[in-house]
């Protein structure tokens, strides 16, 4: 169990370092940075004190703290899959529009 904690904390630490790096390079916005910072800090706390989630579990009526985490993670993951699918479709449509416009323009020059 201790090894698991160390590995997981290392993982969280790496992500936090990269997050700060990205923020410094202005690749992500401040609000985005805060949300992710907060998220990964909470993950870190939960790794160190897994019992903390049991309060939440009791409050929500779910058996164990670990289960709450799994349920919550699944919801978040599915939301993101949906979000990215829609985003991808929008991007595809934009790319198609650009390519189409270029092809129409090229032929206009010829005529």
């Amino acid at each position: 169990m201790v090894l698991f904690k160390i590995l997981f904390l290392l993982f969280v630490l790496i992500i936090l370092i990269r997050l700060v790096g990205r923020f410094k390079k202005r690749q992500i916005r401040f609000t985005n940075f805060l949300v992710w910072l907060f998220f990964w800090l909470i993950v870190g706390v939960i790794v160190i004190y897994p019992e903390a989630t049991d309060y939440l579990a009791r409050f929500l009526g779910v058996g164990r703290g670990a289960d709450v985490i799994v349920y919550f993670s699944l919801v978040v993951i599915f939301y993101f899959i949906f979000y990215f699918t829609v985003r991808l479709h929008i991007m595809d449509a934009k790319v198609a529009k650009i390519v189409r416009n270029i092809s129409l323009r090229e032929n206009k020059h010829e005529n």
Binding site: T85, V86, H89, D92, A93, V95, A96, V99, R100, I102, S103, L104, E106, N107
Partner: protein, 234 residues
């Protein structure tokens, strides 16, 4: 009557010249949408006498057809015909294909390889797997969009001005064939099917296109794209 023929093509240098020459007998305006081919498709099509519009990258059959319709609108035609580039359609089917539009009976005509033919009666050139795949695609098209058709994956279609104006294609790839039926239903267009003969050569069978031969993975992908389309698009 002004007819524009649209041929979406992707890496079809082997067949495009013949196809363009053949359809030029039916209409003087043949437009090839070269969907980012890496071979000499565009050059061959131009040599044969087609007007060529190039996508700088490969977008997929749906996008190529959408570009084709957009281009066709600029020429103010009375009828638009879509035709496959791999040589599986016969140019001599075009007159019977556009007849229902000329007679003002239909807004949209599909050239069906399966009309009025059961599995046993099918053309001997149609492979059995092809027949079953198409049967499933027809069922699925009916299930999703509520239109009965005997050949939901046909690449030979004719549109009149109304259909050309109303039909708005969103899908990028193979699922476009079914999307046409969705648009037909949505815009209350009159659909008619006309029997045509498909030419299944070793070449057209080796292709992994939906209107041509569909391998299983493209089929599954098209299936999911259609469901996604149904869920996300209006």
């Amino acid at each position: 009557m002004k007819i524009v023929i649209i041929i979406p093509a992707y890496n079809e240098e082997r067949t495009i010249r013949q196809v363009v020459s053949a359809v030029l007998k039916e209409s003087s305006l043949v437009i090839v949408i070269d969907d980012g081919s890496t071979d000499k498709t565009a050059q061959r099509a131009e040599e044969a006498g087609a007007k060529v519009y190039r996508h700088i990258i490969n977008l997929g059959l749906g996008s190529a057809l959408a570009t084709g319709l957009m281009v066709a609108r600029q020429y103010h035609p009375k009828i638009v015909v879509t035709f496959d580039a791999d040589g599986q359609h016969r140019a001599q089917d075009i007159p019977s294909l556009i007849e229902p539009i000329k007679a003002l009976r239909a807004d949209f005509v599909v050239g069906s390889r399966f009309l009025g033919k059961s599995f046993r009666q099918r053309d001997e050139s149609v492979p059995a797997t092809r027949w079953f795949y198409n049967w499933f695609a027809n069922l699925f098209t009916f299930f999703l969009f509520g239109v009965r058709t005997t050949d939901s994956q046909s690449g030979l279609r004719a549109l009149n001005l109304l259909a050309l104006e109303k039909i708005n294609i969103q899908s990028q790839e193979m699922e476009v064939s079914s999307e046409f039926f969705k648009e037909i239903k949505k815009n209350h267009l009159r659909l008619e099917e006309v029997p045509i003969k498909g030419i299944y050569t070793d070449y057209s069978l080796s292709k992994t296109d939906l209107s041509k031969t569909q391998n299983l993975s493209t089929g599954v992908k098209t299936f999911f794209n259609l469901i996604l389309h149904k869920l996300i698009m209006r």
